[in-house]
């Protein structure tokens, strides 16, 4: 899922302790969760390093994006070599999806804002706080929860 990993737009929401206790009296949401997009940074990186040798490009990508979002752009169970290869493949494959990627990126922030507003209408007690995730479950879920389109 390296393409997704590389080109992730990340929503960072305030953490809250895991709890099974009902929160039925929670206050309605008054503001959307924080939203951070890394898509433009990726596109800029791609253009800026277009003539760079692949190994150097991969190394620079990992350095730069690990600074941008520490802890996320990492092998996560793969070997270093496997992850490097996946980064290289993602960079190589980017031109083929660039147009749709850019369009999706440009539209997403607004879609997310609208989506949260819609969701609150159905679930007024929704709070934009994230859960604590069980590690085994989260590993499985984040890796395979979503439809695979060959990008894994």
């Amino acid at each position: 899922m390296i393409l997704a990993t590389i080109m992730a737009a990340a929503l960072a929401a305030q953490a809250s302790p895991a709890s099974t206790a009902p929160r039925e009296k929670a206050a309605p949401v008054t503001a959307p969760a924080d939203f951070t997009a890394h898509t433009a940074a990726f596109t800029a990186f791609f253009d800026e390093t277009a003539t760079m040798p692949e190994a150097e490009r991969v190394r620079l990508f990992r350095k730069r994006f690990n600074t941008l979002f520490p802890g996320f752009y990492q092998p996560n169970g793969r070997t270093e070599a496997q992850y490097d290869a996946a980064v290289a493949a993602a960079l190589t494959g980017f031109p083929a999806i660039r147009s749709k990627y850019t369009a999706a990126s440009n539209a997403f922030a607004q879609a997310f804002t609208t989506g949260q507003a819609r969701f609150i209408k159905t679930f007024p007690d929704y709070k934009p706080t994230c859960r604590s995730i069980w590690s085994t479950r989260s590993a499985r879920w984040t890796a395979d929860h979503a439809p695979s389109t060959g990008a894994t």
Binding site: A9, L11, S19, F72, F119, R131, P147, T152
Partner: protein
């Protein structure tokens, strides 16, 4: 991954993969997709993650069901029930068999049992990859005939499990273990 969540450096985040969104979503699917993902976030307040298959049937089924209810008339495509192939068409002719498989693996926590139901990669099993989303959606729909979305979302695991077992049983008897 088009959407998911992780805990990174102690911080909980939702992640949206722009590349996969660009590939499999469009202006007609993005709203149901966000409803689905936001529901996962919301749902864990009452239904924490657990490893048994039935937990995933409920969590994923509910997310698809909520997306369908929030987007009346949503198509299979909009609910992502068409990846990797139209799931209803593939599963419906053997729906009873599929539900029996879910009953047989109901309490399993083995990834090998979970994978054919929910992973996107090709499955060697009798049903298409991701067919658990469709089963979960149908089961949530059965439970949803007698309660509101909010009531469904607020149910803790101890309440969900017997309702899910009852909904599964409504699809008919299953072969005894070892005779299937």
């Amino acid at each position: 991954m088009d959407g998911g969540s992780r805990t990174i450096d102690g911080r909980n985040v939702m992640i949206f993969g722009a590349d996969v969104i660009a590939k499999i979503h469009d202006e007609t699917t993005i709203a149901p997709f966000l409803d689905h993902e936001l529901f996962h976030l919301y749902h864990t307040t009452w239904f924490p993650d657990c490893d048994a298959l039935w937990c995933s049937l409920w969590q994923e089924g509910m997310a698809v069901y909520v997306a369908s209810r929030m987007n009346p008339g949503a198509s299979e495509r909009q609910l992502l029930l068409d990846i990797p192939q139209p799931l209803p068409a593939a599963v419906n002719p053997r729906l009873g068999e599929a539900m029996c498989l879910a009953r047989a693996k109901f309490a399993s926590t083995e990834q090998a049992d979970y994978a054919p139901f929910f992973f996107g990669r090709p499955s060697a099993g009798p049903f298409p990859a991701r067919f658990g989303y469709y089963l979960g959606y149908l089961l949530a729909g059965k439970v949803g005939t007698s309660m509101t979305l909010m009531e469904m979302a607020h149910m803790p695991p101890a309440k969900v499990r017997p309702l899910l077992e009852k909904a599964l049983a409504e699809y008919g008897a299953c072969p005894a273990p070892g005779k299937g």
